[in-house]
């Protein structure tokens, strides 16, 4: 475990000496904060206008109208585009600069190497999420957000993001070309995302069961429940299995490089 953390720590340090991580963090928090302010102001206006009407007052809900659309709507799209940019360099970079010879001739297992890299990049994701906490704090000052729902939302975001990262890491093991790794990552995530879009036509062709199976495979259908404040074990298990599966495939690929 100590070696795993050593690898992870070095990975995090590498992200923060290159402009890439700062850029991604900056883009993420700028866009999110900007949308937050706009939405907050328009929500406040609505509240001012309709607040006196008892019927409308009941309809006003900061969680439903501000937090959920902003986080649940914006973040998955953002992750789809930007997280593969974080993972694309993980394994190709080692081979490009020849450090794979150091790593693979050290007394480490492929599992320790892969897990270390995954934890490192997941720590960057956690840093990204930490940057959004001030928004929640602002909300807490001006209104009464549902903190439990927000906690569940963050758990969902973290799980989904980690699954995206695991898939990206796995694909980076197949190629030495970072651009290719990025495109493969976005493409695969898009493919997994749109599995749910085929539900309609598939139901009419093959019936409910195979269509439902496909929908359950989609990376996006497991997310909305978290945003509603529901932590359902099937969704947690889904993301954890996706992560485990991707990491196991990565370990196999790294091992196969040793035997070439």
């Amino acid at each position: 475990m100590r070696s795993v953390l050593t690898i992870a720590r070095r990975e995090v340090a590498t992200y923060f000496v290159s402009p890439l991580a700062y850029l991604i963090l900056a883009v993420f928090s700028c866009i999110l904060s900007f949308s937050f302010v706009i939405n907050l102001v328009s929500f406040a206006n609505e509240a001012m206008i309709y607040g006196s009407n008892p019927y409308y007052q009941q309809q006003l809900n900061v969680n439903e109208q501000l937090v959920r659309p902003l986080f649940a709507g914006f973040i998955p799209v953002f992750f789809l585009i930007l997280l593969p940019a974080l993972t694309m360099r993980l394994l190709p970079e080692e081979r490009r600069q020849g450090t794979s010879e150091l790593i693979l001739t050290s007394p480490l297992t492929s599992g320790q190497i892969v897990l270390g890299k995954f934890l490192g990049v997941t720590a960057v994701l956690a840093a990204m999420l930490a940057l959004t906490l001030p928004l929640i704090y602002v909300l807490k000052i001006v209104t009464q957000p549902d903190l439990l729902m927000i906690a569940s939302l963050y758990l969902g975001i973290l799980l989904m993001g980690a699954a995206f990262l695991a898939i990206g890491l796995c694909l980076s093991a197949f190629t030495d070309n970072q651009v290719l790794a990025y495109v493969l990552g976005v493409g695969t995530l898009l493919g997994l995302w749109f599995l749910s879009a085929f539900e309609g036509p598939l139901t009419s062709w093959f019936g409910e069961k195979p269509a439902g199976f496909l929908r359950n495979l989609s990376i996006i259908t497991h997310f909305p429940d978290f945003a509603k404040g529901v932590v359902d074990t099937q969704h947690v298990v889904y993301y954890l299995s996706l992560i485990t599966f991707s990491l196991l495939v990565t370990v196999r690929v790294v091992d196969s490089h040793r035997w070439r």
Partner: protein, 313 residues
Amino acid sequence: MIEVRDLKKSFGERLALRGISFRVEKGEILGFLGPNGAGKTTTMRILTGFMPPTSGTALVAGHDVVERPREVKRKIGYLPEHPPLYKEMTVRSYLGFVARIKGVARKTIGSAVGSALERCGLSDVAGRLIQNLSKGYQQRVGIAQAIVHSPEVMILDEPTVGLDPRQIQKIRNLILSFRGEKTVILSTHIIPEVEKLCDRVAIINEGRIVALDTRERLATGLQPSERVSVSFSSDSETLKGRLEGLEGVQSVVREDGAPHRLIVEARSGSEISRRLLDLSQAERWPLLEVSMVRPSLEEVFLRLTGEEKGVVA
């Protein structure tokens, strides 16, 4: 310390190693000499556990590299042909990282890094980013990463390639300081390097070891004839005929640009130099110098690797 038996490796159809066997004793420096693509790097990568052999066995410090790779890896320091540097790190943090993944105990990491820095002459640049260092310094960082966990065995793949003569001198002195303390295998295609550094030389060609011995024995053992250089204080022309008449002499050649010097080549074992001295004393020749001409390792190398004479490998 290192024992390799009938090591073979194929990459698809291509046979990179066709059965390599050798032993290296503790504290010895063995040089791999061979043309590019002869199998030097492949052999080293198998020894370090970077890739497995197709067949054959390799033992490092008593452990099989395939069966107990982690024990072997702990005992080996490896400098690949391109030093494996994370260039965005400082020298000190990089060496700390390597020490950790090599399994150096937490408490001793600081002193391990400190002594590697000092030994490789890196103390002054410890806080600098590796990417800002010159190639010579980067190479030294590469060697420092190979010794930071005090391995018993060091495997250095072309440690001086691409450096200027002064940097080469420093790296060589560093390697020489390991003699007797660590077991070293280094590869090179620079012949003077083997002559200066190595106790024994293995000449590798097309996936085989074609010769393995000390430098002197390699040179003399492969010599088909004895050669002696003779200098006289007067013109040597008249003496040339007398020398040609000696028993066992195959040829006498006047050396270019030195009219008083002759190169006498005789059948090996004919003790030509002793008989030549006896003769010159008896005849009172104006003799200035008699010396054996040893074939250079370069000649041996070129003969064994089947390249044309005069072509520098």
